[in-house]
Amino acid sequence: MKPLARKSGIFAENLPEEVVLYDKTHDKVHNLNKTAAAVWENSDGSKTIDELTRVVAAKAGAPEDRNLVLQALEELEDAGLMEVGVAREAGLPSRREAVGKMVMAGSALVATIVAAAPKAHASPGAPGDPPPLPTPHNPPPQPLPPIGFRPPGGVHKKH
């Protein structure tokens, strides 16, 4: 099997430590770590899994890890970023499901951020979560006033 990434309808933004993919077709945004990004970029339909593993290891400067590449391919497929992905045998769990609780959210190689309305995220989640992104429902922070400063009155003007 030779994985083939979906490139049409996708705008890729390369950052130093990750890649952000804007999927225009499905109106989604995906955040790929280095490994997933290398897998996606090199899945051109001409490489087997083993060849892909070697290429990804060379690019990432890390030891070859076939399981990691397979996990990346599964996550990319789940995110709709593959034309030809990892063939899963019917009835068997995905690699991620098999590992189960060992694979926590933080170790996901592909994070999908739905380009949803910000007001969906208006309320803070767990304690310690950052305040919601400024939206009309949550005006952006104004210039920090000097301590003891009394504005003349009224709402600060949005900049």
Binding site: P16, K24, V114, P141, P143, H159
Partner: protein, 415 residues
Amino acid sequence: MSELQSSRGDATRRLLRLLVQREGGDPRWPPAAASDWKNFAEICDNHQLAPLVYSRLQQFTASSIPSELVEYLRIRFRESCAYNYRLASKLVSLTSTLEREGVSVLAFKGPSLAMTLYGGFSLRQCLDLDLIVRTEQVVKAADLMRSCGYEPTPTPARPQLSPYLCRPEKSRHIDRGKEIQYLSPDGDFYVDLHWQFADRFWRPFTPDVEEIWERAVRQELPQGNILTLCREDLFLALCAHGTRHRWWCLKWLLDVAEILRTPDALDWSRIEEMTRIRPGNGAAASVGVSLAHDLLEVPVPAEAARLLPTTDRSRAVASAIRQELLSRGFSSGDEHSTLVALEGRPVARIKYRAARIFRYPESLFRQIVAEIGPEDRGLVRLPRRLEFLYHFIRPARLILTHSLRAARTFWRTAA
């Protein structure tokens, strides 16, 4: 100086040190307490730099950076990616609609600027859309915005809410003002519809809005193409905008710094021509360039040093802003003091101060009589030809509301 101001100053200095160090390695931050990191996160948010800071921290190997901070910034980064992408989609859609109806429109700042500076939407946090239309097309553009479901929003010092006074036909607002702010139909973002870069007193410090059209360029976004400012106009407009707001948001300074890092991409002969026509714009740009050099260690291109020389006034303004940022973590954002310090023409200074003296009663009048709010419209729905009656309904409503409130307070106190 209070402890809070001091801690904010520390956080801002830490932030600046990180922004200066563009390559990987240890940022050489001193160990910080947990509360210091919270201040740092807050400062990143206030300066709208959380996505960029997150990306920079990813390159560092220092273990002294708490994982909670990185996680906080990661959430911000991802929120910003999604929000910016959505804003860009709306930008392309809205500009296409306006252009289809014959309204020329330029995109300014926002997703367009993110794409120009960083080649994507991830690193620059965007909050709203800024569109520029020709002065003679403001009325048509405003009508189209409303027909698309965008509603003018209330802001202080703007009579837009008045159904009579705020109509774009009112030449006074078009002459003296600069924009109308709209809320999107779904309530998710603002759109600022500009026809000037600044109100009348700040206009000498901005690019000539009539000239930018012939130099406008097409920009390709993933969702479609838009018209935007040429790089030289963008540079001067960003400097004018940042100086007017006293650079209280470091994101704006970073925008200017990114442009200065590729000086060969600027046509300096064009900038020379623009600043010759508008010396005030050159003064505002001089402040921006000085601060980018002082705070972000951006080399000043030789052409910038020649064409945008520092004057005593611009040097004083830049120095004061720098001092405010480094000591307290923020600048006052005070347009008034900045304009007074920067404006060198005696007649203009007198006119500005006189206008400001009269602004307070005017502001009071506007708040009580002119600015019609949803509460006023909710009392009674008037047909368009009777909308002037809202200017009588509003003060009556306010008097009644505040009288009742005062009576209740008095009754509670007496009891």
